[in-house]
């Protein structure tokens, strides 16, 4: 292959993987079932791992392979598994309570994608095309994660929203060529996430309340069981 064609492939594969991560976000919005959401999250993690590995390859930044491996093992496999266990053990409703309807959320999500493109693209005129688009897509993943946290009330789904937000950040970090401390940051995030999962488990152990719906926490009156 000619160098230019190879460069084209570098670019389009990176673009493809980033777009897949974004697609994962939308898949999460689309879900009405908890398990479906976990699958969508796992899909996003796989896409993220692919994106990180690809960036590691084209930037020749070997530490990014660590980030890719962490995304794959931790977020792609371990966390969805842990979440399934939590949902089963805690007897959480298998369906997702949506505060804002799915259609509306999707439309808002599209708006956020457009917004982040409009925010990021003009200000990064100097950067490489891969970086710019990666950053724009990453910002939309971050914002959609926020949207999930706002529009899906259950604590587990909020956690997923947060983790997808974090996926967006990792996506942003890997896209910026030569960014130092990437691995450290992904480790820091991993700690954060481990913490959340632990927190969910922990709630169950204490059995102080019988719903993880944050709404219940706010208006809890007396024992329900």
């Amino acid at each position: 292959m000619s160098p230019s064609l190879l460069g084209q492939l570098d670019y389009s594969a990176a673009h493809l993987f980033s777009a897949m991560v974004l697609l994962g976000s939308f898949a999460m919005i689309y879900q009405r079932r908890m398990v479906g959401m976990f699958n969508a999250f796992a899909f996003q993690a796989f896409a993220l791992a692919a994106a990180a590995a690809w960036q590691a390859y084209i930037q020749e930044a070997h530490h990014l392979y660590v980030t890719a491996a962490m995304a794959l093992l931790l977020k792609g496999l371990l966390i969805p598994f842990a979440l399934r266990v939590i949902v089963r053990r805690l007897d959480i409703h298998r369906s997702i309570e949506v505060v804002i309807g799915i259609g509306v959320t999707m439309l808002v999500g599209i708006g956020l994608v457009a917004l982040s493109a409009l925010l990021v693209m003009p200000v990064t005129a100097g950067a490489a095309a891969t970086t710019r688009e990666d950053l724009a897509l990453a910002l939309s993943v971050v914002l959609i994660g926020l949207l999930i946290m706002i529009s899906r009330r259950n604590a587990v789904t909020q956690v997923i929203g947060f983790m997808s937000m974090e996926n967006g950040l990792i996506l942003a970090v890997i896209g910026v060529a030569g960014m130092p401390l990437v691995v450290e940051m992904s480790v820091a995030f991993a700690v954060l996430v481990a913490f959340i999962i632990f927190g969910l488990f922990f709630f169950r152990i204490r059995e102080r309340f019988d719903s993880l719906d944050v709404h219940y926490l706010e208006t809890f009156r007396g024992e329900r069981r």
Binding site: H15, L16, A19, F26, Y30, I102, G103, A117, A129, E133
Partner: protein, 314 residues
């Protein structure tokens, strides 16, 4: 001259192949479900049987009810023959525009929906209203897909798009991948396939398309059945033409045409197999979920457009 000949051949070919494709889908579905299933040529027999029978009309059926099946069939046939399948060298190629295609299919559907309501039975009405709901969501998605494809290929003409893609104008293009997913979802909805509608159902509450055409019989029904078979073929050819055009003859040499025919039939067969596998592996969704399903298609096509615009550097 060759283009005109090829166009005539194309018109004949689609109407011959359409029942075969439907038959293949039914056969594979049956096999996957562990049944022996009808023979491959059963749809042809069904159609000729229906054509021989008398049509039974409701007492209050208007001329629209009687005329609609023929118009629907004609429009769908026209749409099917516009889509380049074997070759891009067609006399009607300049008119084979994606937007025009969508419009032709939409008018066929509009007629059918009107006819569904004509007799005034509740099923016809419910079928029509659901069909229009689906259309209202599917068409914007389809137009966004068109827009994305046009951004990539710089044309909305199907033969131009096919030439552009065959010419290696695009590498790995995300927006096209997203558009493909969107168009697949639209195609499933438009053709009344499983997660959206069940073509084989007789459970009134879940019917969409079948409810709309419940009052039809005899040759009218044959027209409508043939039209829906043609529609399936149209969508399959259109997807093949935009996303996997390789093998299509761009020049009218005998060798290229032969290759084009073989690949075209192979693509249709592959589409039939995939559709059958997909339909058997999934359950029909509730009607209110359909809006979300198509909303998903719309969303995908919108993302595709945005991503494409992003690549163009805004």
């Amino acid at each position: 001259m060759t283009a005109a000949l090829l166009q005539v051949a194309q018109i004949a070919l689609v109407v011959l192949l359409a029942p075969l494709m439907t038959g293949l889908v039914r056969l594979i579905k049956a096999r996957l479900l562990g049944r022996r299933g009808p023979p491959l040529l059963q749809p042809y027999r069904d159609l000729t049987r229906l054509l021989r029978k008398d049509a039974v009309l409701a007492a209050n059926a208007s001329w629209l009810f009687r005329a609609a099946p023929y118009f629907v069939f004609a429009l769908t046939w026209l749409a099917a023959s516009l889509v380049p399948g074997v070759t891009a060298v067609l006399a009607l190629a300049p008119t084979a525009d994606l937007i025009a295609l969508i419009a032709i299919l939409a008018s066929a559907r509009f007629l059918l929906a009107l006819a569904g309501m004509d007799v005034g039975t509740s099923f016809g009405g419910i079928g029509s209203s659901r069909e229009m709901l689906i259309a209202a969501l599917a068409e914007p998605a389809m137009l966004m897909v068109t827009f994305t494809v046009a951004l990539v290929a710089k044309s909305t003409s199907l033969s131009e798009i096919a030439r552009f893609i065959i010419g290696g104008g695009v590498g790995l293009e995300v927006s096209l991948a997203l558009a493909l997913m969107a168009v697949l979802m639209v195609a499933i909805a438009e053709n009344g396939r499983v997660p959206v509608d069940n073509p084989a159902t007789h459970l009134e509450l879940t019917m969409v398309h079948e409810a709309m055409v419940l009052e039809y019989s005899g040759r009218h029904l044959a027209m409508i059945e043939a039209a829906s078979m043609l529609k399936l073929l149209t969508y399959a050819s259109m997807i093949a033409c935009i996303f996997v055009p390789w093998g299509m003859a761009v020049e009218a040499t005998p060798h290229a045409l032969l290759l084009g025919l073989v690949t075209y039939v192979a693509k249709l067969a592959a589409a039939a197999v995939l559709l059958a596998v997909f339909e058997t592996s999934i359950a029909k969704m509730r009607v209110f979920r359909v809006a979300e399903f198509l909303g998903g298609a719309l969303m995908l096509s919108l993302i595709a457009t945005i991503v494409r615009l992003m690549s163009e550097g805004l």
